[in-house]
Point group: C2
Chain length 283, copies 2
């Protein structure tokens, strides 16, 4: 088993990574979770054969799924992460010292266990501000109102257990669960994978209808299809590109030292630049 | 031969594309040039086995190699392209109606022939404003002073015939060949390919020393290593992010209709946002 093959496009387009050893393999109630030692990306987790993260590139995804939203909110204290079982998004959220509580609602405890056992540098699971709940994110949100300042939807592709995370019902519940200044972030797939365009459009149409502010932003993620990954920003009012947000980024990052490897103020702004062909997917 | 394998990183990291038919294969004096019919990317050209462009994704590279520089210059009339034998960069330059002459200096006529024969939609070779010269770009520049408003270095990777295109001597000649408001653009590899970091740093150090303005910018290119590609902008004075440049982008693009699939004003600005780990390569 010398390489893993991550097929992502029509036809035979894919990504290969050299594998050295299978460290974890368990078929849970929901999916097959595996962790490999690789030749150049450190350890790498797959779910149902699709690359989720590697130790070497995870910083891009996790920094961009968190800091864009956390700095946009004027004073985030209560953060909810749906999915994100590897722990990377929670780790980045916890860097914000003003955050009091992080709730991670992960449907599959196997993902958390695989990360803790095989990728101990990814999560910050012992942090007392973090609570992990093994529940379905959709039902977890039922009846919640105004409980969270930021909600981060860190689910997998719109197949299997994550399919509902691209539908309007779900975003209505997120809206309800958010406080007045609430900010929502979601991963929304690669614009180059045409088979996901319908899910992307359905998600952005939903947040467009529900939230006063909704935007797409992009990140370079080398092990994800085509290296281009889209994310959704939505809020009950705050504009992620407004001057008060950019001032917060400046001030906030001053306390971060050199801990971040991807995110900075330029990246915060530049990520919202959307190429024409991507804009057209959402038309 | 069902797939092509584009190895790019240490180890076995690579990209696969499904191939249907070999349409062109010729070993020139310089390199092996091939064109394939593929399953999903249209026709695809390789040089020495490395993916150069496909019909489906070439718009990103060619729009970003040209319009960033052309709109930054106040009134570009004479443009030089070194390399670029497939014709895509020249096609985009020629969209600027103010440009009087485009000189393409390509070392290998085989690349031009392969493109004309197999990828007829890429080039605009019959355009009377374009002159193709089959010469070595380095010696072509000898003794030239102030002849060009914009120079675009559209060479291949820093191995084989393109290795000199990453050295200071070459950029000194480019500087000399540029007019007073001159703008230089160069392709500068993927930040994720560590084996090219030395070449990247040497190129950016050179333009930093030679030009009053020098910056890196980035594009999402799905068939290039890691999907993240860097480009260099240098000028004798103009700031690509200055208000007069952004006004020119607005005005200029109004005449372009919907011809461009990637480049727009947001992308022009956002591309200059450089993640921390990429900044560190140049330190």
């Amino acid at each position: 088993m010398p390489i893993i093959y991550n097929e992502y496009y029509n036809g035979l387009t894919g990504l290969t990574v050299g594998l050295e050893k299978l460290l974890f393999s368990e078929k849970s109630e929901f999916q097959l979770v595996e962790v490999y030692e690789t030749d150049t990306w450190g350890r790498l987790m797959t779910i149902d054969g699709m690359v989720m993260l590697s130790e070497k590139d995870e910083f891009v995804y996790h920094e961009m799924m968190t800091h864009v939203g956390l700095f946009s909110h004027p004073a985030p204290k209560r953060v909810l992460i749906i999915g994100g079982g590897d722990g990377g998004s929670a780790r980045e959220v916890l860097r914000h010292s003003g955050v009091d509580t992080v709730h991670m609602v992960e449907i599959d405890e196997t993902v958390v266990r695989a990360s803790k056992e095989c990728m101990p540098g990814i999560g910050d699971f012992e942090n007392p501000r973090l609570t992990v709940k093994y529940e379905n994110g959709l039902t977890y949100l039922d009846g919640r109102h105004g409980e969270y300042d930021v909600i981060i939807i860190d689910g997998s592709d719109p197949v299997g257990p994550a399919v509902d995370l691209f539908k309007k019902d779900f975003y209505q519940k997120c809206y309800n669960a958010l406080s007045d200044n609430g900010v929502l972030i979601a991963q929304t797939e690669s614009p180059w994978v045409t088979s996901y365009h319908e899910s992307m459009k359905s998600l952005f149409d939903a947040i467009d209808e529900l939230f006063p502010v909704s935007k797409m932003y992009l990140s370079f993620i080398p092990l994800y299809p085509a290296g281009m990954w889209s994310m959704a920003f939505a809020s009950k009012g705050v504009d992620p590109l407004g001057p008060e947000v950019l001032a917060r980024v400046d001030k906030g990052l001053a306390g971060f030292g050199d801990k971040l490897k991807y995110y900075n103020k330029d990246v915060h702004q530049g990520a919202f630049a959307i190429p024409n062909f991507v804009r057209n997917i959402l038309r």
